[in-house]
């Protein structure tokens, strides 16, 4: 039965709204295992569509999928110094298996660099074996004390790409290629336009030389790190003896990259487009793009209305759309509307006896543009044939709205820590400032503003006029950095 209790409004308590909407849109649920969640079919359907789109993009750029073991010997994790320091506190450890104590404990992968590069060392002998361009779709485990559905859970699903190259330049190009793919995916599929850039040393991946990230701005004007791409240099290849004979006949260490996005993206989607009625799923990712609700009057028109609903669904599916009739007998049309709005289906089609008589369909978009009517009555043929275009327009509007929101909450030319604090205590958003590169400034920012450096902005996100001074007042700016409070 549809549960029509209203959600806590976003403006009142964004965090409460988020949890409620994730549960009540049936994206996910809490499990009896602390820190682990259950991804329900509606949430998993969105993730499947994300996977399909990303997987196609990875394959189009020469990557292949593979699968590596879940369990990693503790000694592997310990081999790269920064890596173990970063991950040790979060490890889940298997000490007993098959009824016996294990000689060496095994950890559930928090990420797979160590096990994967140990295999590459076995497969790669010569420059002819390079590059190796693999990705895996997998579950990983990072023991978390404070968890939030999708955003931070002990177990999560992700993809992790791991590549090996003959030169550092090629590996760096790969890192940026993937950063670009992530950005494009977030824009074109999620309608969640991120800014991109380099992570500071204190924020980079444990074991990387350089980490790049996509950072998206949520509706509460906090940043979400939505995807990362790491240039690992030779840090792991040295530890795992991943060597090759170069074309010139010399023995060299390979150069690695790793990169990932996770089910956290589903949380980002919710916080980018949702409203007080529920979530809004961009049409390209919606498991169901068009829901058709027949309005039955209990008279002799019912059979004809049902038949028309089924016919419209068939014709929409023939156009390649994901459409179906909600023909539940024991739920009222009004309850169906609430339920599908809460679940964020982009378009609803209503068919009643009068529509049937007039040869029209009533179309209701999940979000109604300002000034537009809630429902449009459109001649049936035109409604069906024009549906792909309407959905694409809806997708484009979501992106435009998110871009506008991001731009409105990007503050440039900010010159002091006080000013940053004022913005973040007020409306919040991305604050662009100069930085001298000193980690002490990051600490100041944490203490004074509860903010972290999100990225050193990539070229396309830098301000037209570069900042001259560091935001700390201490010396000239070396780079333009973006500060925000973050998830």
């Amino acid at each position: 039965m549809a549960d029509e209790k209203k959600l806590t409004p976003r403006g009142e308590d964004f965090a409460a709204w988020y949890n409620e909407v994730v549960l009540r849109a049936e994206l996910a649920d809490y499990s009896p295992v602390r820190g682990s969640m259950v991804i329900r079919p509606w949430g998993y359907g969105i993730w499947e569509n994300m996977q399909r789109a990303l997987d196609d993009m990875f394959k189009a750029t020469g990557h292949e999928n593979a699968y590596f073991p879940l369990l990693i010997p503790m000694s592997f994790i310990e081999r790269e110094q920064e890596h173990v320091e970063g991950f040790a506190p979060e490890l889940a450890v298997v000490t007993r298996a098959g009824g016996k104590e294990l000689e060496e404990p095994l950890v559930i992968r928090p990420t797979s660099e160590t096990i994967i590069y140990s295999m590459y060392a076995k497969w790669v002998q010569s420059w002819r074996d390079l590059p190796v361009l693999l990705n895996q779709w997998a579950n990983v485990m990072r023991w978390e004390m404070r968890t939030r559905l999708f955003l931070r859970t002990s177990e999560f699903l992700w993809q992790e790409g791991h590549t090996a190259h003959a030169t550092g330049e090629e590996a760096e190009r790969e890192t940026l290629l993937i950063l670009g793919i992530y950005r494009r995916f977030m824009e074109e599929w999620m309608a969640m336009p991120p800014i991109t850039g380099l992570k500071s040393n204190s924020e980079k991946f444990a074991g990387a030389v350089r980490s790049y990230a996509c950072e998206a701005l949520m509706q509460d004007n906090k940043a979400l790190q939505a995807g990362t791409s790491h240039f690992l240099g030779q840090n792991f290849s040295r530890q795992f003896d991943l060597k090759f004979q170069s074309e010139a006949g010399q023995e060299e260490y390979a150069w690695n990259t790793s990169w990932g996005v996770s089910t956290r993206l589903v949380g980002g989607l919710v916080m980018t487009h949702g409203d007080d009625a529920g979530i809004v799923v961009p049409p390209r990712l919606a498991p169901l793009q068009v829901v058709i609700v027949p309005i039955l009057k209990g008279d002799d028109t019912a059979a004809a209305v049902k038949a028309k609903a089924a016919e419209v669904a068939d014709r929409l599916r023939e156009l390649g759309l994901r459409a179906r009739v909600d023909d539940r007998d024991n739920v009222s049309p009004g309850s169906k509307y609430y339920e599908w709005e809460r679940k964020g289906v982009p378009m609803r089609v209503e068919i009643g006896p009068r529509d049937l008589a007039e040869g029209k369909l009533a179309l209701a978009r999940r979000l109604v543009p300002e000034g537009a009517k809630r429902k449009e009555f459109v001649a049936e043929g035109e409604a069906v044939a024009g549906m792909p275009e309407r959905l694409e327009a809806f997708q484009a509007e979501l992106l435009q709205a998110a871009l506008r929101r991001r731009d409105e909450h990007s503050y440039r030319g900010v010159k002091s820590v006080d000013e940053v604090k004022e913005i973040l205590d007020g409306p919040g958003g991305f604050v662009f400032t100069g930085w001298n590169g000193d980690p002490a400034v990051e600490q100041t920012m944490k203490d004074a503003c509860k903010a972290t450096s999100r990225v050193v902005a990539s070229e396309e996100f830098r301000s037209e006029t570069p900042p001259e001074r560091c935001v700390s007042g201490d010396g000239p700016s070396q780079m333009e950095v973006v500060w925000a409070r973050a998830y």
Copy 2:
């Protein structure tokens, strides 16, 4: 570089052949973690195609995907008595996480009935919430002492469906629906025709009321359990309090089913179609269906040959086929032939200067029908346009060959344990006999013949003349059972 050392012939040592071909076709590799393997891109590509086909079949019958936690509280596993007895010896146990000893140990799922039905209990209140028809694609862990690539590893990938129904009849129908889907998938996609039937009590799933299985016959005439579908009755719903209010207003326990196939299927594929040159992948599952090898003579025809190869690949892809040019400069055409034969690509196209001049392509099938020529020279247009049909014919021939082999090694009307032993010590295969249903006969068969009861044959696999007596000589037959040595 292609490794052209010959494989151990199947006739000499089937087990050695299997391991070699899995490694050298680059389907999988051993990992540094005992009992866990690495699935390499070629093996994973086959698994991805299997997933896609099965997933479509599940969705077409109303199932949806979801995801449940990897870790299960030990107390959950212990709740169903038979279940814990079956799985306890194989559990991998997390005792430490986030730097602390856990209060309650968590096990890595060996299968997910317990965690999943505990969630269903939360979601299901009324008959209106039923049926619940979910599937998950996941990794599971069963600690194994003696492992074999794909066939028996501690960690493996699988899908596990879990459903809840209002009546036992409906759940039983679901169990058989899925058994039929598995059978159809194995026939139509894998060209690996199984026999189906009911497992005996001693062979059924720990916690099931009845287990049904697909059993396929490998080339060494041993049986492979390739998929199982379980009717769980109310065993789990009682333990996890999965109750609902019936339409009549009464509180009742739901009826469950669970069912799964795993990456073991890849091993089955290898042992069904492989030959002494490598594996053979049925076209519908092949990650690459047509490989195009340009024959370059190092003269001025090279550019034209390369261009033609690329053009042919494009046109095959336009027909929806998975085709690509192997344009590696540092590998000879002969080495490429060996490599792609070992990897089982169904069709090879060769293009050299003479073919180009004559407007023909040389087509080489991975398996050549008896009496046919190794290569066919076919006019280019016809070769391209006819490729889908050729691949379908190849697929059909694989199924026919496997059916023929299965029938040739199915022994019916067998009347004594000695006779069973003679067959299994000799050629081996499926041996159909009468059975009085007494587990003591199964023990006799294990001791005397190293054979297990694979299934009580489903109706369509029973002998025309039902056996009259139990194979033990002890009383009349109650059912027709199939014995085999098994993986």
